[in-house]
């Protein structure tokens, strides 16, 4: 919560000072379009997750606008606003993995060995406020905290091609198959958080006139689920890298 307030204050002070004309003189504006790739995963990975069976790229567009204020030749500060999706679709082999399937008031819980597919969609507005460092005319590094407001949320998946031990590893064994009537699917959209935060670290490379390339890593420090949600044992952190193009507006 403290971090949130701090970020808000920073943003406000930037806007407030932006009203002064002389302040605007050395502000750079950069538009960004990029692609997010990464995952929403437990850190560290529990031993019960054995292997990544497949990973499918999602429509993870990232559109952004960055305003940078130079403080010296090398140093500066920048604020950005992104609209982006941190989606993921992966299928992983698990062993004795705690799984709970909830439907209405009914709950089926146990230890699952088999394949678990997870699909995540997280459309969000992200506001990073960062310190910048210019290595030279072309290359800029930056890092700082970000705050995201998640506006479109989906988290669903299925446990399939394996078996569930009901309750604990000594409970009844039920096979789960590979079609909608025999696999166990779950849907936890409603348990996702509206706000996320984390650390962004990235680099911009001015390659040709106004255009350039950028790459950044947004390391989530808050889980994607509400803190009172324990159906998935591990906290899942959104960790996504972004690669894309920059266009210097001014």
């Amino acid at each position: 919560m403290k971090t949130k307030i701090l970020l808000l204050l920073l943003a406000l002070s930037l806007t407030a000072s932006a009203q002064r004309d002389d302040f605007w003189r050395d502000i750079d504006l950069t538009a960004r379009t990029g692609y997010n790739i990464g995952g929403t995963a437990p850190i560290p990975m529990p031993a019960s997750i054995r292997k990544l069976n497949s990973y499918t790229l999602q429509a993870n567009a990232s559109l952004g606008l960055t305003a940078e204020k130079h403080l010296s030749d090398k140093w500066g500060v920048q604020a950005s606003l992104y609209f982006e999706n941190k989606g993921m679709r992966e299928d992983a082999r698990v062993k004795n993995y705690h799984e709970a399937i909830v439907r209405g008031s009914e709950r089926l819980e146990g230890q699952f060995t088999g394949d678990v597919e997870t699909r995540v969609t997280q459309w969000m507005f992200t506001l990073p406020i960062e310190a910048t460092f210019h290595l030279n005319n072309r290359l800029k590094l930056y890092t700082g905290p970000y705050l995201s407001w998640v506006v479109g949320k989906d988290f669903d998946g299925k446990a399939h091609n394996g078996y569930l031990r009901v309750g604990d590893p000594t409970g009844g064994k039920v096979e789960l198959g590979n079609d909608p009537t025999t696999w166990g699917s779950y849907d936890f959209d409603d348990n996702m958080r509206n706000w996320q935060w984390g650390i962004d670290i990235g680099a911009d490379w001015q390659t040709w006139k106004r255009t350039g390339l950028y790459a950044a890593l947004k390391w989530g420090l808050s889980g994607v689920f509400q803190s009172d949600f324990h159906t998935i044992e591990q906290t899942l952190y959104p960790i996504y890298a972004t690669v894309g193009l920059t266009y210097k507006l001014r």
Partner: protein
Amino acid sequence: MNRLRLTVCLGCLLLLTSCFKDEPLNSEADIQRVAVDIDQPLSVFFALTDSAQDIASTDSAIVFNVRSKADLTSLAPTFKLTPGASISPASGSVHDFSQGSVSYDVTSQDGQWHRHYTVRFHPTIVTVKDTIRYDFEHFALNANGQKYYQWYELDDDGNRSEDWGTGNSGFNLSMGSALPNEYPTYPLADGHTGAGVALTTRSTGPFGEWVNRRIAAGNLFLGTFDLQQALVNTLHATKFGIPFTIRPVTFSGYYQYTPGKTYQDENGQTVSQREDKGAIYAVLYRNHDDAGNAVVLYGDDVKTSPLIVAIADMGDISTTNGWTAFSANFLYRKEIDNTLLQNRGYSLALVFSSSNEGDHFQGAIGSTLLIDEVQIVGTTQE
């Protein structure tokens, strides 16, 4: 651009992959299969296939039905366990089974989980009775969880014989919150005489809707319910029949039937003008095929298998006014082989269901079939 994207993509996968830890040790502690290797298996067992059996995950009392004159003083069962698990006393150790059951404890590979098993050899006396009665006085909550009722018979030694199966353990998957009397099959305190058994078609709630199995008919049958198959092959979860050593002639008992109000198809759509019907039937079949493989009939072939010898079927069960007697004759399609009969080569399935299309998830929620005082009258010897 593409190369950068590829590099980042690979980098991420590498990052993810490098996080995988060493495989954890197994937590399961099951006996998956038991075998008894002896020089002359047919001196102990009725059929070669009886000397080994697969053990369901829900079973912990293992029973071998053996010849009454079998020497049980030094047998050495061998066990196939969950990989990495250990058993005490050891697999293959010799024990005297003539004095009753022997206990075994299985510990999982990670040492965290334990299961207790008993192995018993039950000398079966070829019955001289010509009437077998089932009065449903013996029932208990399931040992692992105490969630639902199971019915059993007492054998001649007074031991529990798990002759009856129900779909209750499958229902438990969808409606874990149900009380024992809210399951499809539950005891009827005030039966025709003493306790009876009640079968009611239930809604399987949100879970059932989601896997398109919206109802669970109350069922009770001689045989076993295989929870493992409950979702992937529902019709194979019901394994009908137990070995039977008399030649059945009539199948009779008492029942009451009340259909539920609204008949629904497998998609949950109301079918107007259709009244639910119950099912009461008995099937006698050869429990080995011509190649000598053990055979059990499932939900999909219990009335169609070529191994069926006789069927006694009450047809569609409709509304009754109070307890009603039923009686059906076994209609034989083939002659009985008496030697095979005495060697437990035939199995009998008695099947009761509150919705006769319940195996296809059609019927009326609330349809109730009450059963009591069932008997099989037979001729033991020609």
